[in-house]
Amino acid sequence: MREDFGKALVTLGMELEELVVLDPDVSTSTRTCYFAERFPDRFLNVGISEQDMIGMAAGLASTGMLPIATGFAVFVVGRGWEQIRNTVARQKLNVKIAVTHSGLSDHGDGPSHQSVEDVALMRAIPNMTVVVPADGPSAAEALRASAYHRGPVYMRLGREGAPRVYLEGAELSLGAANLIREGSDATIIANGIMVSMALEAAELLAEEGLDVRVIDMHTVKPLDLGCLERAARETGAIVTAEEHSVIGGLGGAVSEALAELRPTAMRRIGVGDSFGTSSRTYWELLEAYGLTPKAIADATRSTVGRRI
């Protein structure tokens, strides 16, 4: 995913001469190094100082540049949160915050480097758009859409490659969910790497005769309420799936919306109220935290049984 991101940055850099990339000295990890190589004059290694980076991005944005502030999700959001809130979002500055190593994807580095709270933290900030792309091509599209969107955007990517969801190129419009599989018995609403798992879960359930809809809710804020309401009305059972805490992220956003719009039988798949942990491979970690197609399928089956 970060590879696609790194390459997409270069492409956008060619299109938009006001685009500058800020990096807290992790460019080889986030793959902004490609941009640095191609556009050294528009690449700012700000040193290991996320707060300073966000402030600098704000100053650049308020004087006509298009800054993309990058880094690891947990550090940019965690350390830079108050700067993002008070300086970027409060002034609706045109700053894009694009992070990698989100969720559990930095498996080897352990809980200090993993980030399962960032979507909740960013979603709570007024004026902020929050987008979580499903795979490499949609990460590139999300970056493009963010760059052409006026205002602050938080874009969340993983460290690891994600299975391709969009085989023939992705289309992504901020705030408009992608309906990627039709179905009438239940709906799985996922984002990030969980979208590919949601599709697999739908396949498993199809074998049992359940016709399951899958929605890529890449934009967590603003949430596509139309698509959500339709899914609730037409299928009556909703399961969310995200590589994030079940508190405050996609599951939280969908629950909040449905509680008021249309109370619906629901389950949330995600990281429980806990930190991550180290593991040798990403996939074994996801499995340990119950982020699997099987877990999604089980939750969907039980939700169908609890339809209101």
Binding site: Q51, D52, G55, M56, A58, G59, T63, N86, T87
Partner: protein
């Protein structure tokens, strides 16, 4: 000196050489300090260290940092005559007092200590056009110590960015003037209010000017207490790295923060040395004298290849002089 005197002789010789003071004088001084129990000779290495009492006395002495700065000679370039500037600052001072009184909240003393600096910048120095607040080539001003907002608002109104009447609605529900600067207020170049962030933002603006070949200057006013925020020093390194000579930081050195003297809460001194160590050109000025401020700003403008900070000593209301607070005023 009965024991160990030989041990510190090399140290004293060194000090003597570096400072051009006779060794015998230093030895005598060392003896006296030791007899007064202000220093003691270390058992192990032959060095000298401060005693508890010595440390206490030094701390007391350090509080004497707010000194009358030496004023510069010469006549600054000013957009308006200095006499008029001084008179208008006097009127602004009364207005700020009224504003805070009417609003029933706001940091009065901190606003007043910044007022002369802000007014001098806007009325006599900065390139800006109140009829065109979004002018790309304007000089920028950021109020790091956002709690001095009343001073900024009064000056903006004086320039014509705001209708005078707006000032009496400071902090009103639905009003334009928020407790701390908001970008939606005409003439405000950056929101602030959370301490420690503006130097980073100013860096971005200055860098952007360099990247886009625009010759505007960026001014950022920092509170001295604000310097306790770590982000300021992250930013100070960035300004030096990018050689931002189009940036001038001004420290409002009033010596006080919310609960007491900065030197008691979290000592900043030696402050000039800190900035120098971070790669900045350091100037000192009398922050209550528009003439001296203007001369310092001019001097800062001439510095090439690195950022400049002006440590401006100021007076916080409630103290009748720079040292007033220490007399319990």
């Amino acid at each position: 000196m009965e024991v160990n005197s030989g041990r510190i002789t090399p140290l004293l010789s060194d000090v003597s050489e570096r400072n051009g003071k006779p060794l015998s004088t230093l030895k005598l001084n060392a003896k006296i300090l030791r007899e007064l129990n202000l220093i003691r000779y270390r058992e192990d290495s032959g060095g000298v260290e401060l005693s508890e009492l010595g440390r206490f006395v030094l701390d007391l002495l350090k509080e004497d940092y707010v000194r009358e700065p030496e004023r510069r000679a010469g006549d600054p370039t000013s957009r308006i005559p200095l006499g008029e500037l001084t008179r208008r600052i006097g009127a602004l001072r009364r207005r700020v007092l009224r504003m805070v009184e009417e609003a029933g909240s706001g940091h009065l003393s901190s606003s007043l200590s910044s007022l002369t600096i802000i007014a001098t910048l806007y009325l006599a120095k900065m390139r800006h056009d109140p009829k065109n607040p979004g002018w790309e080539l304007r000089d920028r001003f950021l109020l790091g110590k956002g709690h001095a907002a009343p001073a900024l608002y009064a000056v903006l109104a004086e320039c014509g960015y705001l209708p005078e009447g707006e000032l009496s609605r400071l902090g009103c529900l639905g009003g334009l003037l928020q407790g701390h600067p908001e970008a939606s207020i005409p003439g405000v170049d950056s929101a602030s209010g959370s301490l420690g962030q503006c130097l980073s933002i100013a860096n971005g603006m200055a860098l952007s000017g360099k990247m886009r070949g625009m010759d505007y200057r960026v001014y950022v006013l920092l509170g001295d207490g604000e310097l306790e925020e770590g982000q300021v020093w992250e930013a100070a390194m960035s300004s030096a790295k990018h050689r931002l000579d189009n940036l001038t930081a001004i420290v409002d050195r009033n010596g006080l923060q919310l609960t007491g003297p900065t030197e008691a809460v979290k000592p900043l001194e030696p402050l000039a040395d800190k900035w120098r160590a971070f790669g900045w050109k350091v100037l000192e000025a009398d922050g209550e004298d528009p003439r001296d401020i203007l001369l310092a700003l001019q001097e800062a403008e001439a510095v090439k290849g690195r950022p400049t900070v002006i440590i401006a000593s100021t007076v916080r209301a409630g103290s009748s002089s720079r040292k007033g607070w220490r007399r319990g005023l």
